[in-house]
Point group: C2
Chain length 271, copies 2
């Protein structure tokens, strides 16, 4: 291929980095694709790193050594994060979201790629130093968010099912008490889905008492694996978290009363 200008090269490198967050990409890949010396590519990367940092659009890290290269770590600035959380509060405050049983209708939010894309970057930033091997969730509403966090962390997604499935092979099943419904529930995970001794981040749409997170913890024990982080989009502060200590959320509210959500605000992550 003909030689490209620096302008063109930085576009191509940026595009490739964005497409594989948290994956180490060797400089050879860029120099082969763009027909340029590795020293030239290194200079291109300096430009990309500087502008992304200046505009708070994430970081480019250099990994040295034989398996070295560069990787892109997604991130948004604190101000933009808070702005996003405030917009999310406005959206959830909307009339008509509280449905029978004092549940909040959030399906449209959880399945909106623009919202979930940004939430995924924010949550993944919280866990970027946890050396996670997997992101885990329980079907169904939290799947797109968990997928985004997994994508941004550069790891595999794992989904616990509510029922065992013929297409999943041998499965491990545990019982847990869901804080949302207060009922005893089951979750199952295929034996094939996870290596033992893994580190996992649990992502969900909503947290109330933390029963589901405790269930995930129990399930992971059966895989000799460890829960190293918990992140949710929305935290209901009404219920005491009897099961878990540490977790992060993007927005929180006090309670649902008379068909309205009270005191909804960005979580303490943004203060």
């Amino acid at each position: 291929m003909e030689k490209l200008s620096r302008n063109s090269r930085v576009v191509a490198i940026t595009k490739i980095l964005m497409g594989s967050p948290n994956k180490i990409i060797r400089l050879n890949k860029f120099s082969d694709l763009l027909n340029a010396a590795k020293s030239t590519i290194s200079e291109d990367i300096v430009i990309i790193r500087e502008v992304l940092q200046k505009l708070e659009m994430g970081k480019v890290e250099t990994i040295s050594g034989a398996a070295g290269g560069i990787k892109f770590i997604p991130g948004i600035g604190d101000d933009k994060g808070k702005e996003f959380a405030l917009k999310l509060c406005d959206l959830l405050k909307d009339d008509g979201r509280v449905i029978a049983g004092n549940f909040i209708y959030m399906t449209d939010v959880m399945y909106n790629p623009e919202i979930i894309g940004e939430a995924g970057v924010i949550l993944s930033s919280c866990f970027k130093d946890k050396k996670a091997d997997y992101v885990i969730t329980v079907e169904t509403k939290g799947i797109p968010l968990a997928y985004e966090v997994a994508r941004n962390l550069g790891v595999q997604l794992v989904i616990a099912r509510r029922n065992t499935q013929v297409t999943e092979g041998p499965t491990m099943t545990i019982n847990y008490v869901s804080g949302t419904s207060g009922r005893l529930q089951q979750m199952s995970l295929s034996k094939k889905s996870m290596k033992s001794s893994s580190r996992c981040v649990f992502i969900d749409d909503f947290m109330k008492g933390g029963g589901t997170a405790q269930g995930i913890k129990d399930l992971l024990k059966e895989f000799d694996s460890e829960l190293v982080g918990i992140g949710v989009l929305v935290d209901n502060k009404e219920a005491e978290k009897t099961f878990i200590d540490e977790y992060v959320s993007i927005v929180e509210f006090k309670s649902v009363e008379k068909l309205a959500i009270t005191d909804i605000k960005p979580s303490n992550m943004f203060t």
Copy 2:
């Protein structure tokens, strides 16, 4: 903010475009953020468009008029698409994937962001001119892929559930015959989840007889909406598609015999 060099501006614009595929972004947004004249930004965009086209990394389209701007349309070249499909065949051919009942274990593939990210670009390319309002799937295994297609098309994702849920408000339920299990099954969709008179693309992990696609068609009728496209990752050619005519897949195979998948190959999309 201080003025940036062209090198820096094209990095920032590329980053923003990649983050919002198929969404029209006004030039004002870039000129405000980067403190540059709109004519300068237009020149930057020409550079980005040319290099992405040259490297077959997608298109940048200009939309004129009052609501105009530019949008990024994801895409990968035919060669890269075929290379991806061949790699996927190799992965699925692996021993040990066929489990009791002649099912193929694909969960690891469906929850792998690197694979699903690329598959999502390929499938979204097939539907980019369909003017879809939503991408729809049935829980659970196809959700990450459907999410990627929705993200790449810049539309909302909708997920039909196998059981009605208290958190979804009033729901519409239909019965259908699943080709995989041969059993009568149900799927439900929240009345709030879709506007009537919508155009929808159905995405799933796997197709056998097409019963699920027919179920989606029936469900959409109840929302006065239309199925305008069907895309799956893997097509089982063993069963006649009695219910549907047109659909796309990335790989296909003939049958599962003696614990092995026979004749797996890239679909006719790549010939």
